[in-house]
């Protein structure tokens, strides 16, 4: 029965693609707010091309996203999942394998991204690689003669009371793991990480929670260097004109890859495929990055369409820099809990 349905669906899809227009559906997308899929100009262009309307629902954490998928089967057609969480979602049966043959732009994806082991599980694609970026730190270029090349600058005496940190357990542990040369997804020596984090006490000026926070603190001169995301750093520099430079130190940086997936029981699979195809289209990406600011695209052609000096092309597009990224993978539940506890204990130690 199921096979018949899939065959029928496939036939319909081929028909739809062949006809060029297809039936008009309304698809529902689950994503972070303001993260590309809900750009109004992009949705208007999509509706013009395909006739499909797009509605959005938002989540504020990966846990919330998983909860929504678990409790609302059949409610969404496309969901954004950080590839570190894709295996969990696939294992729980929350998302379905994607027929990449029906998404033409998949052919242009960088092969390492397209075939990332967190997205392709058991030979089946559970997520289409969309955008990626790095988590490291950004500096105020007015306070540094030259950009530092080591993560140890965060621990240096010169930076006493000048460092901004993000109040996030996993990120704090992973950045310290990079400084110590440990595996970020399964650190071997948590005691060493605890010691190293404690040593950060004199440097930390304050914690930040949102991009908006970060921009305010940086422009008020509250910190000279702070943990940051690569996409946000380029937004701070281009949109807000802050003297900010993102650093990928020699020890490495946290890399992350976001994929687009189709939930099990999605009502409009074909329209979902068309939407994913549009999201990885160079035309959409170049406008998104140039006008708004975006992470790096997993589509090689889209990256090639950026201006030569665009951050995503000049820095992250450099294969030597990209090779220094340590990509986020699935973290076991008990490891996650240990990380959280370690961080809370460290924050308590940070008090006077």
């Amino acid at each position: 029965m199921k096979h018949h349905l899939i065959a029928a669906g496939a036939a319909l899809a081929i028909f739809a693609l062949g006809a060029g227009t297809g039936t008009a559906d309304t698809i529902r997308v689950l994503n972070w707010q303001g993260y590309g899929t809900d750009e109004s100009w992009a949705l208007e262009a999509f509706e013009e091309k395909t006739g499909h309307k797009v509605e959005h629902e938002y989540f504020n954490s990966e846990q919330e996203m998983l909860t929504k998928l678990r409790t609302n089967p059949g409610a969404y057609d496309v969901v954004l999942i950080n590839s570190a969480f894709t295996p969990t979602a696939a294992k729980e049966g929350l998302i379905q394998p994607i027929d990449t043959a029906k998404i033409p732009n998949v052919a242009d994806l960088t092969p390492e991204m397209r075939n990332n082991p967190n997205l392709v599980i058991g030979g089946k694609t559970y997520g289409v690689a969309w955008v990626w970026g790095a988590t490291s730190f950004a500096i105020n270029t007015e306070k540094f003669d030259a950009a530092p090349d080591t993560i140890e600058v965060l621990w240096s005496e010169a930076m006493a009371d000048r460092i901004g940190w993000r109040d996030d357990a996993v990120e704090a542990v992973q950045i310290t793991a990079i400084a110590l040369g440990q595996d970020i997804n399964n650190p071997s020596d948590l005691d060493a990480i605890r010691e190293k984090l404690r040593a950060l006490k004199p440097q930390i000026r304050t914690f930040w929670t949102s991009e908006n926070d970060w921009n305010q603190f940086m422009s008020a001169g509250e910190f000279d260097a702070a943990i940051y995301w690569s996409g946000s750093a380029s937004r701070s520099a281009t949109n807000f004109g802050l003297p900010v430079e993102f650093v990928v130190p020699k020890e490495g940086a946290i890399g992350w890859l976001d994929g687009l997936s189709v939930p099990t029981d999605a009502p409009n699979v074909d329209a979902a495929y068309e939407f994913i195809n549009w999201m990885i289209d160079p035309e959409f990406y170049v406008k998104w990055d140039t006008d708004v600011g975006a992470p790096a695209s997993a589509n090689a052609k889209a990256m090639a369409g950026l201006p030569d000096d665009a951050f995503n092309r000049a820095v992250l597009g450099n294969p030597e820099v990209a090779s220094r990224l340590k990509f986020m993978g699935p973290i076991e539940d008990d490891m996650r809990e240990k990380m959280l506890e370690l961080w809370q204990e460290t924050k308590t130690y940070f008090q006077n």
Partner: protein, 294 residues
């Protein structure tokens, strides 16, 4: 009221007055039960589970959350830190609020009093978040306060107040000061001016009048204000997060993390109830004083 009715009307009226009490107070208690007690009970139940029973998950009964608290010393450190914060804020509210209330109750009369009252209450009408953010503009490096000081005393240098324990205390004292002023005002106003006159005619000095007469008579207001301030402050998380920076970790912020960042509702609930227990123990210890004051 009920007692005097019964005494006057005898047995005949007992039934109707009981019914009247039930009808008049019933809705309020029902409302409280539904909106406060039931959710609180649900949270209390959650604190004994392995995971929150939402999204189709099933939690099993356990004491693990409470054991986690006992095994990790840093939770106790944070609770003590929050209790200290509560006491500090209540103390400074008294220090500033009591003289304000005294002047309002005893010195200023008529329309000026109304105008000043309005000034005391106005902060209550603005959003708490807005108030805290305006403090960040005052306290931060090269902010309003430092610039003002620099204008008066050029080259005074930086205060470095932002992101410190003091910044958290300043923000919270400002937020909760009206409670202390209002409760003290009520008990100060009830003091008969003739009593003060009498004390003065008997030769008591200002300090003696304050110490022997006004403070004891105003004690119920002071205690009520302190309790009203102490309880919310020890659970506060927004002000410490924004104003405290690295030094802004308290038990309230850790509980908030459990609910919003990591979805560990059971541990968050357990920590909340442990905090509640601490508050009850403190009130029990001070019960004799409180009883005298009330």
């Amino acid at each position: 009221m009920a007692a005097s009715n019964t005494a006057l009307g005898g047995a005949v009226r007992t039934g109707s007055s009981a019914r009247a009490i039930a009808v008049l107070t019933g809705p309020a208690y029902l409302w409280l039960t539904v909106t406060v007690l039931l959710p609180l009970l649900a949270m209390f139940y959650f604190s004994f589970l392995t995971e929150a029973p939402i999204a189709g998950r099933v939690g099993e009964l356990t004491l693990e959350q409470y054991r986690t608290f006992l095994e990790r010393g840093f939770y106790t450190t944070l609770i003590l830190r929050s209790l200290k914060l509560g006491a500090t804020v209540a103390f400074f509210c008294f220090l500033i609020g009591f003289p304000c209330a005294y002047i309002l109750a005893k010195t200023i009369k008529g329309r000026w009093r109304e105008a000043l009252f309005l000034l005391v209450i106005i902060p209550f009408w603005s959003n708490a978040l807005v108030r805290v953010f305006s403090w960040t503009m005052v306290l931060r490096g090269n902010g309003l306060l430092e610039r003002a000081i620099d204008w008066v005393v050029p080259g005074a240098g930086s205060l470095g107040l932002m992101f410190t324990y003091s910044a958290v205390v300043i923000g919270l004292v400002h937020s909760y000061l009206p409670y202390m002023i209002l409760t003290c005002y009520i008990s100060l106003q009830a003091i008969d001016d003739d009593l003060i006159e009498a004390a003065r005619s008997l030769g008591a000095g200002r300090i003696t009048i304050l110490r022997r007469l006004i403070l004891p008579l105003a004690l119920p207001g002071i205690v009520a204000g302190a309790v009203l301030i102490f309880v919310p402050v020890i659970g506060s998380f927004m002000e410490p997060r924004i104003l405290g920076g690295r030094q802004g970790t308290f038990i309230g912020t850790i509980i908030e993390d459990q609910f919003t960042a990591v979805f560990n509702w059971p541990l968050g609930a357990a920590l909340s109830f442990i905090l509640l227990a601490c508050v009850l123990v403190i009130f029990a210890m001070f019960a004799p004083v409180l009883k005298r004051a009330m």
